[in-house]
């Protein structure tokens, strides 16, 4: 099931014109569950340093795509390639989740999955420590190596919690934090693994407008200050349109459009996908479109 993740580009293959500036790339990824095709020949190209949003109606296959990228699912067909900063190519198809994470892809979950009985600090330390080497023997014997690792993870966790604004909630139990704080904590935990690509699964779900604004800023800061590419699944179009460099649209497991936010929102297939889904959605989408036209117009003005 697991392919050799250390294999270099030769083993991975793919189009000869592989763009080394693409940090993450998939070709014809197809994932089926019994008779149901969840992902249908999905091609994705993500540039290093960009914020790419994946949108689509419910059941379009967004989370399936995430799960396929991070090793939770193994698609039956296709290729997934990750190109780390320091060169080379790694195939992600069928890799175990922790290997994918180690290569440099970290994720959050749609329904926040924290270690809820642990403190915020412990949550982040767990992730930070996966990059450190201290075996059980050196820990049991209390060797200097183990103590150093403990110190390093502590420092790193403190730094990241400060980065997401939870520096005064270090020792609170994760399960008793507010929803927004839990969201931030989950992002901090993902960042603690020192990723090159951060996959955020509907981070704005259930947050209030203020938190949304903070989140928007946080995503930008992650992208600019930490230099992490961000792949974002989101329903909140305002957030998508404001932070994403590019947008990819999935419907029924197929990619139906890709491009800058303004390109995508005028794409006929996208409009149809949203209009076709249900009456409520249609109304919402029209509202969204109207809103975005307005906004992109103002963006355009800003740009000038």
């Amino acid at each position: 099931m697991t392919t050799d993740v250390t294999s270099e580009s030769a083993a991975v293959g793919g189009p000869a014109s592989a763009d080394t500036d693409l940090v993450l790339e998939t070709w014809d990824v197809t994932l089926r569950f019994g008779g149901l095709t969840s992902l249908d020949h999905v091609n994705l190209q993500m540039r290093r340093g960009e914020i790419l949003a994946v949108i689509g109606p419910n059941g379009a296959g967004k989370t399936s795509l995430f799960n396929s990228l991070t090793g939770a699912y193994t698609p039956q067909e296709g290729k997934i390639v990750f190109r780390p900063k320091d060169g080379g190519e790694k195939s992600l198809l069928g890799s175990k989740p922790h290997i994918v994470n180690r290569l440099g892809l970290a994720r959050t979950f749609q329904n926040i999955r924290l270690f809820s009985a642990l403190t915020a600090l412990e949550n982040v330390k767990i992730a930070a420590e996966t990059r450190l080497k201290a075996g059980p023997v050196s820990i049991m014997l209390g060797l200097p190596k183990a103590r150093k690792a403990e110190r390093l993870s502590d420092e790193r966790a403190h730094r990241l919690l400060k980065f997401v604004g939870l520096e005064d909630k270090l020792n609170e139990i994760a399960g008793s934090l507010s929803y927004g704080d839990q969201r931030s904590l989950e992002i901090a935990r993902a960042l603690a693994t020192d990723p090159q690509v951060l996959l955020l699964d509907e981070p704005a779900a259930g947050t209030n407008p203020t938190e949304k604004l903070e989140l928007e800023g946080l995503i930008r800061r992650i992208n600019t200050e930490l230099g992490v590419s961000v792949l974002l699944i989101e329903h909140d179009m305002r957030l998508v349109m404001s932070v994403a460099d590019r947008v990819m649209v999935l419907n029924f497991g197929k990619k139906i459009a890709e491009g800058t936010p303004s390109e995508v929102q005028q794409h006929p297939a996208v409009i149809e996908a949203y209009l076709g889904s249900s009456a409520e959605d249609a109304a919402a989408v029209q509202e969204i479109i109207a809103e975005h036209e307005h906004q992109s117009a103002s963006d355009a003005e800003d740009g000038q």
């Binding site: 939770a72 994470n101 970290a106 767990i126 049991m140």
Partner: protein
């Protein structure tokens, strides 16, 4: 019992509906029936021993004897008190409650909070553990060594697997068997000859290594499984190891076991000592091992390894997504946990000088698990207390009840304990939080709830 709690908060409409039901269906009377049933059960439990000649003998004598009326009077009396003097009692209870539960909780809280106090107490405990046994009768010394200390070691090991890593292992005692049979093999007491015959002390590292290896072998094919599935497979492994010990006569000696396994002895750098039949030297040896294991393991608990285990226990999917190598850490838990049973197996075997497969029945695995949960899984002091208490209890019950009824009372105690104090005698803080969160519906308190693969 549960009938008592069913209907405390009645809305007026519910109450109205209830008023229309027949009198015997009213909650008050259904509670009465429950108490009557409890009374009858109590009378049966405490009644005379039955007899296969006349299978109704015990039941008949219970129903014709006075015991039944005493039991019924008691339970119905309790019912009446609760129903008709309930408010008054409640007032007393609430007044009494902080007096009863409060200090215990606060003492534990203070101990857990204050580092220096904790060290002081541990030192005191150690001193007591070294001094007190020498004042005891030799019978209690034997109980301490042969039963309590051995099971404490085992429980500490199982605690790693289930309390920390959340892997439900119902076959833990099998590792003990592996340790014991390793000892018999390396001291040349099995039908198959070892390459060299070793002193029992040298068997310890070998037995630990063998157990580590067996832990890995057991773990590797089963780690994809979770919760209940892991439970039945580990149970199956125990059954297989037990039956191989029993059936492979040519290798293990079969049901007749291995005998004349030599005692520990050291003859090193001018120090020469031989452990023998006296339990005390074995006690000191075991205390040494227990202390070492506790020190090593508590370091692990508060390190990255312990945190990774907790992460796996709480949410394996999230742990893996954050780079925790779940397979490696699970195997580590299996292997490290198993290693203590290796030590226990060697000490046990040399102390007894004799083993046969009947020492390792499935029941023992289930009992060790019960000790860990009873004490408070995830917490080392809890596990120590749990194992000590539940091993000690049947020994002391011997004097008060018919010995063949001991496990009936033990079973009842387990049920009552799980209903009234599911976190165990001395729960770990993490565990307590998990239980609290689970009761509030946030997250799961153990790793048993998820099917293989996870919940996407």
């Amino acid at each position: 019992m549960s009938a008592v709690d069913t209907s405390k908060n009645l809305t007026p409409s519910q109450a109205a509906r209830l008023r229309r039901t027949a009198w015997y269906q009213q909650p008050r009377f259904s509670r009465l029936w429950a108490m009557v049933a409890l009374g009858v059960l109590l009378a049966l439990v405490t009644g005379e021993q039955g007899n296969t000649r006349d299978i109704f003998f015990s039941i008949e004598s219970t129903f014709t004897g006075g015991g039944l009326w005493v039991c019924l009077a008691l339970t119905v009396g309790v019912w009446a008190l609760r129903e008709f003097a309930g408010d008054a009692l409640k007032g007393v209870a609430t007044k009494a409650k902080p007096g009863v539960a409060g200090p215990l909780g606060s003492v534990r809280g203070r101990i857990q909070a204050d580092q220096r106090l904790r060290w002081g107490l541990m030192l005191l405990a150690l001193v007591l553990a070294l001094v007190v046994p020498s004042l005891l009768q030799r019978y209690w010394q034997t109980v301490l060594v042969d039963q309590i200390a051995i099971f404490v070691l085992l429980a500490i090991g199982l605690n790693v697997v289930i309390g920390w890593a959340g892997l439900l292992d119902l076959g833990f005692f099998a590792f003990f068997a592996v340790g014991a049979y390793s000892t018999a093999y390396w001291t040349g007491r099995l039908p198959v000859e070892p390459p060299v015959v070793l002193n029992s002390f040298w068997v310890i590292p070998i037995a630990v290594a063998t157990c580590l290896l067996t832990g890995l072998l057991l773990g590797a094919p089963t780690l994809r499984l979770r919760g209940d599935y892991l439970a039945i497979v580990t149970l199956g492994f125990h059954e297989i190891i037990y039956l191989v010990a029993k059936n492979a006569d040519g290798i293990t000696g079969g049901p007749q076991g291995a005998r004349m396994i030599p005692d520990f002895s050291i003859d090193f750098a001018g120090i020469s000592y031989k452990w023998s039949i006296d339990p005390l030297p074995y006690w000191y040896l075991l205390v040494f091992f227990i202390v070492v294991v506790i020190i090593l393991f508590s370091r692990l608990e508060h390190s990255r390894v312990g945190r990774a285990w907790t992460a796996i226990r709480e949410d394996e999917i999230a742990a893996a997504a954050n780079g925790v190598d779940t397979v490696r850490f699970k195997l580590m838990a299996f292997a490290i946990g198993a290693s203590t049973s290796g030590v226990a197996g060697v000490v046990f075997t040399t102390k007894y000088g004799y083993i046969n497969p009947e020492v390792f029945p499935l029941l023992q695995s289930i009992l060790v698990l019960a000790y860990v949960i009873f004490g408070g899984m995830g917490s080392i002091p809890g596990v120590l207390l749990g194992a000590a208490a539940l091993v000690w209890l049947p020994e002391v019950l011997k004097d008060y009840v018919d010995p063949s009824d001991r496990y009936m009372y033990l079973g009842a105690l387990l049920v009552i304990m799980m209903i009234y104090r599911p976190q165990g005698i001395w729960p770990s803080r993490r565990r307590q939080r998990e239980l609290k969160l689970a009761a509030e519906g946030i997250g799961d308190a153990d790793a048993m709830s998820e099917p293989a693969g996870g919940k996407f």
